[in-house]
Amino acid sequence: MSALGTALVFWPAAILMLVWGLYVFRTASMARAGLLLLGALGLEGLLFLALASQFLGVLMILMMSGEMIIMVFFMVMFMSDPGGLMGMDMTHDKRRSAALAAAIGIGLAVLAVATDWPGAVVSPDAPDVQAIGYEVMGRSMFSFLFAGVTILFAMVGGVLLAKEGGRLGLAEPGDGTSRRDERT
């Protein structure tokens, strides 16, 4: 992509991404918060595309849709005020957290501008799908396989924690995994 094309996609997408990202934590409606996050991360995928990382951009756009829609689901299920109509305050330490986050953001930004980064590629470029494939199935094979194990145990652990009662039927009172224990 040409430098002009990159700029034309990058600026609107980046600004919208930051604004939506911020509004995730400012809106009272949980459905909106989740969808704004989906929008922000989807726009990040668009930024990847603008920065020549085609495969990563497309993958990001694909993955975030699924992941964030689940997020929205959970938001709506587990919030006492999913529509944001009751005006519940869901923040704490508002001023301190904002100040700390702003300080860190400004610090990172200043450092990013001040540092003399290596490399001086004018127009963005990136390895293509094939090069990424050779990397995944070559040098980073071990890490890739290990990521598979990680996903397996995220699934096992997720089911373990979330489901009441095990594969072996509901828990028996007294063994510490049943909710009934709490009351006795």
Binding site: S140, F142, F153, E164, G166, R179
Partner: protein
């Protein structure tokens, strides 16, 4: 490119024997899940036996690889099989097996017993991989699985609200720290142009200092949180308190040692030659960590929380070994020896706490009163382990502390050794607060109906092994020290 990749594939297949310990742990975890699915409820303990056996097999394989195959960089440099990695894997394997034995009486008969063992094995696997990893992408994902496994183990007793709360708190601290670390890795990648630690080391040596310091600080947040270093230690007491006691024992040893070993591998490799003054920074963190941990331990009434703060202080002592890595050749052996001594003593202490909790239903200091009359063997183990954590000669802790102090002095950080000695002296008080009532008070303690009459064979075995190790590693320290001397980290 295809031919190149084919050659790479051949190489990687030929290098598989070096990964045998990791392979044993992978089998432990994956076959653990299969066994959990296949076995009937009454037989779920077999999954535990399988996992414990595979842990021991991993430790044995680590020794075999060291003796038989030698040390090398494998998997195109993303994995390093060196003395540090193999010694850590051996320790993790034995400690993990002890934790399975401790957990067995607690989780027996629960509704997802088999999965518990499998997740424990996966967590150990992640710790072992973290000790081997020489690539930041692998470190990131290994730390991810290590964290996830820890969260799951902490929250396993889902009926207990405390366990759930501890797990959620742990999760929040853990994911935030992990995300911060990945951000630091992204800058490292940008400065060096690769994700291998060796590439990063070469790149950072030429990079501007400001960016190096900032990104390294972000990385240390992630690894330091695993190792419970101050100021990333807040989760520790709550999590140990809320988790089942065997899980607290596990968390206090395996993820912590893995985090410290990862620091010991990452920092010297990525920041060669004391780049950005990281040794001094680590020394300062070590001093603060041991001070905060020791002082906070003084006021605790729950023995588990006391041990939690004590383990924070011990992280500080372990970190002394990391801080001395650039300045002294004795630092790495000292770190490893300290890790062995700490693991033995801490697991023994937690095993006694578990036994007392199961008999007296409480982990308060008051519950330990009169333990010496009713259970002399437990009390002996408790006294030995706590005094080893304190560093009384001739126990393992004494030799270990001697080693790290001399390494610190050797590296020109004598002030740190002074702080360490001062904190060692102070730490006697909290340990004595547990020991004194246990030994001196008359028999009895809080009269509560015993929940389980006997500790069970597995728990007794775990207690015996760790208590004996505490003594043997201290009295017969020579072979262990010479073995640790052989352990060299590869860059």
């Amino acid at each position: 490119m295809l031919a190149e990749t084919k050659a790479m594939e051949e190489r990687m297949l030929a290098e598989l024997p070096w990964l045998a310990p990791i392979g044993a742990l992978v089998l432990a975890a994956v076959i653990g899940v299969v066994l959990a699915l296949a076995l009937p409820r009454g037989r779920q303990g077999l999954a535990g036996a399988w996992v414990a056996g595979s842990h021991l097999a991993a430790a044995a394989l680590a020794a075999a690889v060291w003796l038989d195959r030698g040390l090398m960089r494998v998997m195109e440099g993303t994995v390093v099989v060196d003395g540090l990695a193999l010694a850590t894997t051996g320790l993790l394997g034995v400690a993990g097996a002890v934790c399975v034995a401790m957990a067995r009486p607690v989780v027996a008969g629960t509704d997802r017993e088999g999965e518990f063992y499998a997740v424990l094995a996966a967590t150990t696997l992640a710790a072992a991989v973290l000790a081997h990893a020489a690539d930041v992408a692998l470190i990131a994902i290994a730390l991810g699985l290590l964290s996830l496994g820890s969260f799951i183990l902490t929250g396993y007793l889902r009926g207990a609200r405390r366990a759930n709360e501890a797990s959620l708190k742990y999760y929040i601290y853990g994911t935030v720290a992990g995300a911060t670390m990945v951000y630091g890795f992204s800058w490292w990648f940008g400065l060096a142009g690769g994700t291998g630690l060796r590439t990063i080391g070469e790149g950072l040596a030429q990079a501007p200092t400001g960016a190096v310091v900032a990104s390294t600080a972000l990385v240390v947040v992630g690894l330091g949180y695993k190792a419970a270093l101050v100021p990333f230690h807040f989760w520790t007491p709550d999590v140990y308190d809320g988790a089942p006691v065997p899980v607290a024992a596990y968390l206090s040893v395996l993820p912590k040692i893995a985090g410290l070993v990862a620091l010991a591998r990452v920092l010297p490799a990525a920041l060669p030659g004391d780049l950005a003054g990281w040794t001094t920074a680590m020394a300062v963190v070590a001093a603060i960590t041991m001070t905060v941990g020791t002082l906070a331990a003084i006021g605790q009434t729950s023995v588990v929380r006391l041990l939690a703060y004590s383990s924070i202080a011990q992280s500080g002592f372990l970190l002394m070994g990391v801080a001395a890595l650039e300045g002294s050749d004795r630092a790495l052996p000292a770190l490893l020896f300290y890790a062995v001594a700490y693991a033995a003593a801490n697991l023994a202490a937690f095993a006694v706490v578990l036994a007392v909790q199961r008999e007296r239903g409480s982990v308060d200091v008051s519950a330990f009163a009169g333990l010496g009359r009713s259970h002399p063997w437990w009390t002996a183990a408790l006294v030995l382990s706590l005094l080893s954590l304190f560093g009384l000669p001739p126990l393992a802790g004494f030799v270990a502390k001697l080693e790290v102090f001399s390494a610190a002095i050797d590296a020109g950080q004598a002030w740190l050794a002074v702080v360490g000695i001062a904190m060692t002296v102070v730490s006697l008080y909290p340990y004595l607060r547990v020991i004194a009532p246990a030994v001196l008070a008359p028999a009895g303690g809080p009269a509560q109906a015993p929940r389980t009459p006997r500790p069970g064979l597995a728990l007794a075995a775990a207690l015996g092994v760790t208590a004996v190790a505490t003594v043997v590693v201290g009295v017969g320290a020579e072979p262990f020290l010479s073995l640790a001397d052989e352990a060299r980290a590869m860059r």
